[in-house]
Amino acid sequence: MKIRKELIAGYTRLLTMGRAVNAPDPMADLAQFDADIRSMHKRAYKEGNLDWLRLALDSLIASPGGRIGQFAGQQYPFSDAELQALFRRAYGMIWPDQPLSEPGDQADLDFVEMSAEDWDAFTGNAS
């Protein structure tokens, strides 16, 4: 099912363009991203999108091939494997009690360009 890519990119951008990517070697220790992960968690919580963020991260971690790269941002040249590791850490921090889906069990999400208005209408959040 289609999901508004920018909804999720708005959160993952806090990881891929946040504090940690300015460190000399961001991927040397993923703990450098912890503050950015907390920021992402807080923002998704405040905006009422934690469920979508969880489903999206779970889906991208279980099936990264050919699509996780679109969330890399332009600040740091993350490889797909690095993004997967980063998202896995974020998932583990935010939802420690909820296991990740095994490959094939994830929600079938298709990340597409979609206006915020269309998305809100689709999810019933339109004012």
Binding site: M1, K2, K5, E6, L7, A9, G10, R13, L14, M17, G18, R19, N22, A23, P24, Q32, D34, A35, D36, R38, S39, H41, K42, R43, Y45, K46, D51, W52, R54, L55, D58, S59, G65, A72, G73, Q74, Q75, Y76, P77, F78, S79, S101, E102, P103, G104, D105, Q106, A107, D108, L109, D110, E113, M114, S115, A116, D118, A121, F122, T123, G124
Partner: protein, 924 residues
């Protein structure tokens, strides 16, 4: 392609017909003269017959059709006005010319369509292969595309378009050749790295240097499109090997490895992690193959191992692995199941019968014969494997099916959790219902599209095409609802076209002159007939039928005028709204609104669509003056506010504020031309102060922080060469040593310090509007990290004017990792140059103060603590609490601008627009 103008509308051969229409004032048509001179009457009758054979095909552009239709009317007027037989010699000749011109233009239109398609295909081909090209091939194909786009933009004749088509097809073929070479290039870089890695000392250095030389030589050839020579240059490197045949061996292994990673690795990983019994025999194959290749240089053995792994990881075995996941562990208590499993294992064993499909079939037979045993397994699998899909589905379903889904899911889960698996009273009683409910997942997107159409075209609801789906959903007949979706969607998709055509026909009916009874009647009948067809279930045909009537030459001029007006209105309204976002100046906005409304009224009230179109054209030209003024003003306001925030002395700022106020007065009048010039000048004059302020901000942000690198990495003083070096090596423009690295996926820079400073301030003000004051130096800790104040605020500032250029990394370099395996590096082999970017990403982040070096009584008394930097408030509180056995009441700190750089993501360098939508944090 999007920039390609419509050459037909401006073709002089066509324009002459429009000019003739206007010179003859052919909008008024005389009546058919009463019979008189027989010769004249006969010639008139013959001329009208010939003229009536001429239709203006829809294949031509709107502008061309209007011109040609004008010519047709002009000729008709001449026919009706002629009073001498001799006059018809020229009229007949002109009718023939018009028919020939239309035929010729049809040829041009057809050639143009073919050229457009071929060019679009070439662009698509390049986009699909560009990330696999080396820099030479990238530059070569990109150059061909740009050249073809220019030729297309200038094309007028069918010969021109045919040439573009041929060129575009040639480019597609060249892009394919370039891609083939790119794949070889990848394999070669992979193989040569593997061959060099175990070498030592001078031999290794010489081989590496020779590799670099051959790559440069190859790039020279690929840049010229000579991929054969490029490949030969790479192959020539083998002279550096003791045995030149080693290169072929290494290449063969590298190609196999690339193929494995692209096509088999994911499936293989799944099988190896599954309960397929002999999977354990293959778990080390990949590792061993890599060791053989990269450590021991035994490529043949490595290849054999890898090939065996590929053969093992067949699609059938993948299906078997997935199928076997459906068996719950509790089944193992059953002897029959264990026997079935053993038999299946024997049948699927790779080094045996190797028949995983047969093994799966056998297990399915057993499953059918043991349904009672399998019910528990199915329930457990549903709970485990469908949970994520269930959670996604319940996010998007609406009532009444949402309640049905959640109720059924929870009832099933409760019973399964209670180990109740009786067919009639346990969890399995819900299997069929859940299966039906989950089918709704397949039509989520289609149903959303249906809802969107109904929301955008409410009138479509009255045709009830969506009803079969809605009725079946309401009746909980989910399979029937799912089956009904494709047909309902197809009908609804035709509705916007039909309703738009219907509206156009209705509008036309309203503007036809009162005495045009025949025309009115024809149109009215057509509208009614189309409505019957649409309601009868064929809105596409209804739209087509009605359009055919509208395309009749009697209506054409008016219909096209209305269509042109509507098209123009949509475009102008968009730009109008965009301009107002920057303007935010009520006096000027009212003037703009009035001008737009006047054009709307001319069409809506007076029904003068031609005039209304011209008024919109004038308004569009006005917006082209207003928008640059508004964006310059937007930036000037930001710059001056930033300078004030930076503490620039008021006497120093005063002259600029005065000039800005004078410009503002012109804008309020509104005199947009004068205001634009004045704001541009203020903006220019602010360069020196902006540079000083920007540097001061950066210096302050950088103290004790990773922030403060925006200006020296993305500032206007950074050279293009530095930007490319950063992409290709990771060395940043502000490197303090040759070893310093800061890798990036896109290296960009601002045109001016004013752009940079304005972006910072505009984002700071946007942050304040969201409740984040970046001047704050203390935060309160509430104990709940999810509701504590925000510690980051990021924005995408749309400057509305070009602020930047960038180099976007495309294909990554390869390097050897510690084990000698070639892996993708953080640097790039190829890049794309783009310019004209208009957006900047700005990110403010809260940084708590350092926790000082101190001695406290905790965790034990006394404990000496070093000075330490906390990542964020949560981290600060944890560290502080460890020292003081209580959280801090307040957290001291400051906001820094961690990033500001121009956004290259989603930029289309040809159209100079972003292809991605609003990122959700856009200003304004």
């Amino acid at each position: 392609m999007a920039n390609t103008p419509d050459p037909l509308a401006n073709n002089p051969a066509i324009r002459q017909w429009a000019e003739r229409f206007y010179s003859l004032k052919a909008w008024t048509m005389p009546d058919l003269p009463d019979p008189g001179d027989e010769d004249v009457d006969n010639r008139r009758k013959a001329a009208l017959t010939e003229l009536n054979k001429i239709t203006i095909p829809a294949a031509l552009s709107s502008g061309a059709r209007r011109s040609l239709a004008g010519g047709r009317k002009a000729l008709k007027k001449e026919i009706l006005s002629a009073d001498e037989a001799a006059a018809f010699d020229k009229i007949d000749s002109d009718i023939s010319d018009l028919a020939s011109q239309i035929a010729a233009q049809l040829d041009v239109a057809a050639a143009r369509d073919l050229a457009q398609s071929a060019l679009a295909a070439a662009e698509e081909k390049f986009a699909s292969v560009r990330d696999s090209l080396d820099q030479g091939a990238f530059t070569y194909v990109e150059g061909l595309i740009k050249s073809a786009q220019k030729t297309m933009a200038a094309a007028v004749t069918d010969k021109n378009f045919k040439a573009v088509e041929a060129t575009a097809k040639d480019i597609s073929a060249k892009a394919e050749d370039a891609c083939t070479y790119g794949i070889y290039f990848d394999t070669w870089t992979h193989a040569t790295l593997a061959l060099i890695n175990p070498m030592t000392g001078g031999t290794k250095d010489a081989a590496a240097a020779a590799r670099s030389t051959q790559m440069k030589t190859a790039a020279t050839h690929s840049k010229a499109g000579n991929f054969g020579a490029a490949k030969s240059a790479l192959e020539a490197w083998k002279t550096n090997l003791g045995d030149e045949d080693d290169l072929a061996e290494a290449l063969s292994f590298a190609a196999l490895m690339d193929g494995y990673m692209a096509n088999t690795h994911d499936r293989c990983a799944f099988i190896l992690a599954s309960s397929v019994p002999d999977a354990k025999d293959f778990r080390n194959h990949l590792k061993n193959a890599k060791t053989k290749a990269y450590k021991e240089q035994k490529f043949a053995e490595a290849k054999a191992l890898l090939q065996e792994l590929i053969d093992y990881s067949s699609k059938d075995r993948g299906k078997l692995a997935r199928y076997m996941r459906g068996f719950d562990g509790s089944l193992r208590a059953d002897e029959g199941f264990r026997n079935a499993l053993t038999a299946a294992d024997t049948k699927q064993k790779f080094k045996g019968a190797n028949d995983p499909a047969g093994a799966q079939a056998d297990l399915q037979v057993w499953e059918k014969a043991n349904r009672a045993l399998m019910r528990k397994s199915h329930s457990k699998q549903i709970v485990k494997a469908l949970e994520a899909k269930y959670n996604a589905l319940k996010q998007v379903l609406a009532e009444p099916e949402l309640s049905d889904l959640t109720t059924t899911w929870n009832a099933h889960k409760d019973l399964a959790d209670d180990d109740k698996f009786d067919k009639k009273t346990g969890a399995p009683r819900y299997h069929a219902k859940l299966s039906q409910l989950f089918q709704l997942e397949k039509v989520v997107d289609d149903r959303r599209e249906m809802a969107q159409i109904l929301a955008q075209f409410p009138a479509a609801a009255a045709y009830d095409f969506h009803k079969p789906v809605a009725d079946n959903i309401a009746a909980q007949k989910y399979p029937e609802a799912v089956s009904a979706v494709p047909a309902a969607l197809a009908l609804l998709r035709a509705m916007p076209g039909y309703l738009t055509t219907k509206k156009a026909a209705g509008d036309l009916l309203a503007v036809l002159p009162g005495d045009a009874d025949a025309l009115k009647s024809t149109l009215d009948d057509a509208i009614k007939a189309a409505e019957i067809t649409a309601r009868g279930g064929d809105p596409a045909k209804a739209a087509g039928d009605l359009q055919t009537v509208l395309d009749g030459t009697d209506f054409m001029d008016l219909v096209l005028a209305m269509a042109d007006y509507r098209g123009k209105l949509a475009k102008v309204e968009k730009e109008h709204a965009r301009t107002k976002k920057y303007l935010k100046l009520p006096a000027a906005e009212s003037k703009l609104d009035e001008a737009l409304q006047a054009a709307r009224d001319r069409a809506g009230k007076d029904k003068e669509y031609g005039d209304a179109f011209l008024m919109l054209d004038t308004h569009e030209k006005l917006l082209k003056t207003v928008k640059p003024m508004a964006t310059a003003r937007f930036q000037v306001q930001g710059i001056i506010a930033a300078l004030k925030r930076a503490g620039v002395a008021s006497k120093e700022l005063k002259p600029f504020e005065d000039k800005a106020a004078a410009a503002e007065a012109e804008a309020k009048k509104p005199d947009f031309d004068k205001a634009g010039t004045a704001f541009d000048q203020v903006r220019k004059d602010l360069e020196k102060l902006s540079t000083e302020a920007a540097e001061a901000y950066e210096m302050m942000d950088g103290v004790g922080s990773n922030a403060g690198h925006s200006l020296d990495r993305h500032g206007p003083d950074v050279s293009d060469e530095d930007l490319i070096t950063r992409l290709k090596t990771g060395k940043p423009p502000n490197a303090h040593s040759d070893d310093e690295r800061s890798y990036t996926g896109a290296s960009s820079k601002f045109h001016s310090p004013q752009d940079w400073l304005a972006g910072r301030e505009i984002a700071a003000e946007a942050a304040l509007a969201k409740g984040v004051d970046i001047t704050e130096t203390e935060m309160t800790f509430t104990g709940d990290p999810l509701t504590d104040p925000d510690e980051s605020a990021d924005f995408t500032v749309e400057h509305g004017r070009p602020i930047d250029k960038a180099y976007i990394g495309r294909k990554k370099h390869l390097r050897s990792d510690d084990s000698g395996e070639p892996i993708a590096d953080k640097t790039y082999e190829s890049f794309e140059e783009v310019e004209g970017l208009t957006r900047a990403y700005v990110n403010f982040i809260w940084e708590p103060e350092l926790l000082p070096a101190e001695t406290t009584a905790f965790p034990v008394d006394p404990t000496v603590h070093d000075e330490v930097k906390a990542q964020d408030n949560a981290d600060y509180v944890t560290k502080y609490t460890a020292r003081h056995n209580a959280p801090p009441a307040k957290i001291p700190g400051r906001w820094v601008m961690m990033q500001q750089y121009p956004v290259a993501d989603g930029w289309d360098n040809e159209t100079k627009t972003y292809t991605n939508g609003n990122p959700g944090n856009m200003i304004p």
